[in-house]
Amino acid sequence: MKRLPIVVTIFLMMCCLAASPALAGQRGDQFPDGGALNYGEYGRPATLDPITSNDMISLRITELIFNGLVGIDEKQEIIPELAERWEIEEDGKKYTFYLRQDVAWHPREGEDAKPFTADDVVFTYDIMMHPQTITPLKVRYEFIESVTKVDDFTVTFTLKRPILNALAKFSFKVIPRHGLQNQEFLTREDPFVQAPIGTGPYMLKNITADREVILVSNENYFKGRPHIDKYIARPFADQNIMGQALMFNAIDMIVLVNHRDIPQLQGDKRFVMQPYNALSYSFFGFNLRNPLLVDKRVRKAFTYAINRQEMLDSFFNSQGTIISGPFAPGSWAYNLDVQPVPYDPQKAEELLTEAGFTKNGDGIMEKDGRKLSLNLKVPIAKESEAVKRVVLAFKNYLQKVGVDIQPEFQEWMAWKEDIFLHHDYDLMYASWVFDDSADISSLFHSAEIGSWKNNFGAFSNPEVDGLIVEAKLTLDHEKRRTINRKLHEKIADENPYTFLWTLTNYAGYNKKLRKVAIHPYKFFSFADEWYIPKSEQR
């Protein structure tokens, strides 16, 4: 319903009109300019602005169009972007940013480019925090007390209280004050969300009738003109067709290759498969409102009963890491000392027996006449083969230890309501995707139990609550690390989820693309440095 197949003209050759022959070395490096990059996305972006968008496809496009005050380089260190330098005063409560004076907004057609000033920064913050703006960013910037413009190129942020790693949070994308129709708040009705202008290396040229997003290089980009002339984001409704499009050179890059296509592409010399770590993991979540699942030994038995390594090997070509706790393994908060529990069905049965269960005549575990027969709710997506595999294998493993699992596939909205609103489920399967913060308070703090809140399983443990609050308040990075390690250990022991794995994502691209560096979460952060050798520009 959401993804009716559309006719995709994959074999249409893209005519790459070489733009004006720009001088090589304009960026101060020797790499040539020119060429076009067509990349395939599975699905279409809803909006193209950095405020209202909440899907990964939009996020990748906004990364090309916009800049933040600060950026993050390939070594995960903070570098100046729109702000050329900053000062931190009053024990970390006051941040003053000195902005670059040579930055201009992308010009609208028939207009001159307007300069970027402190007004835009203040405006972006105001729009973001306006109650009528619907944005996932709001909660992340509640730590800011106020923002003031000192002069045209200086802004000061005052924080409510000093927080750790505050500087990284100023990487939010700045939007132009003159760009929006409504000057108070931003909704998806504003024309800006479909025709944004920014300061970034690429400018939106147009969106075609097939929802191809065409971006052209910004000749006046303040870091120097990006090498590749044109970026074209092409939506696909079918991952198989997208894979074929890459094979037949109709597109040059797939940002996220389906795991089942990895072996085929890896064996093909025309393509490069570049792994990048995504801060995400998959899990089975327990509903602790079900009295059968209150005992942590029962929950742990589930984790012992399944062979995660075998699933990872069989379904994902071993492209991933098994995890033991609630943090993304790429994160500094992840505790490597906590080992994932091994596959041990015997131990699982022992734990269930310890918890008072006995096997009945049908080979199903039973306690006080209640069978350990649970539903497992899973959302339907068209491309859900991996999900189906994991769910079926899970059912199979648990059957062997005497637990009956009934998978129930549901339409996406119905699933969401059952999990987040009605809490009407026993087990669920899902994945979390994190940004770079290591904040898991919304997942496991008992204050987060309720309608549409993230602690849908009603997990409540005073010790965990205490650790979460403590980690939030501390300003010392080492201390926070220690707390998070303890938190990891505690949650691994309580087992509110059966943690599965984090998968290695692969971008697959034609090897004519050079110097490709990928940001794990935002993807195109370094795309202005990618280039295509002159001979392969078509």
Binding site: M1, N240, A381, K382, L392, A393, E408, F409, E411, A414
Partner: protein
Amino acid sequence: MRRFSQYAFEISDVSHVSFWKKAGPMDRVYIGYGLLVVLLVVISYLLGATGALPYDPQEINLELIMAPPNTGGHLLGTDFMGRDMLSRLIISIQAYFLPGLLAIGIAIVFGTCFGVFAGYWGGALETATTYVSNLLNSFPRLVLILLMVAAFKPDIYYIMIIVGVTNIPVVASLIHSKIQFLKQKNFIEAATALGLNNCTIIFKHILWHNCRSVLIIQATLGMAEAILMETSLSYLGFGVQEPTPSWGNMVQAGSNYFMQGKFWPSTAPALAILFAIMGFHLLGDGLNSMLERKGDR
């Protein structure tokens, strides 16, 4: 009373020659082929019930995923969970048979009722029936099904209820026009004059003697339609859900590997769909010409 009804029977134009003898040679082939498909359905149930399948269709073998045909005793290979294709293929027809019957039942029973109301009595009833039929016809079926799935759950029985309901107007209009045609032949008037009650006239003289071929054909086509509908829904992910096998979800799962050269997991169920649908259509076709031949004795 018996004599009167016998008399009415005579004028309603039905001979006593066996239908099979009246069937042309091609019709016999068609019907034979169709009946073979029906027989295979019965065999599928028998094999499923006795457990005489080559493998357990639910048995997962992660060491043997997407094995090509004839590996390790798997005649048609294995699917994306290492389950035996042949066993799943055989058992799959059961995913359609009872739900398909439900769809057919709804369409035939309610369609006939509406058709008789509109055709036999006419007047205000005819107008009302036409309105209801138009109303049902104006809903796109796929949207109705997707709404049903969103509101309840993706269950094949729910889907088949919609398929049945949306087929009511088709059956109703067939019966309606047939009755209007029969009314011109005056035997209904004769039967009424002889004092037969409406019930006898409708069930015996109209439906049994003159409409059964239409209804049988609708029923066979309905089964083919049920299979096709489930297949297209499976492509969107809303058909029969795992772990229950259906040809639709097997084609869908296999299609992911088609481009990689692994054609067997989608080809085998696709062929099964082709032959089954052909069987039901030919059965309907054969029965149609056989039952319609009654005029030329």
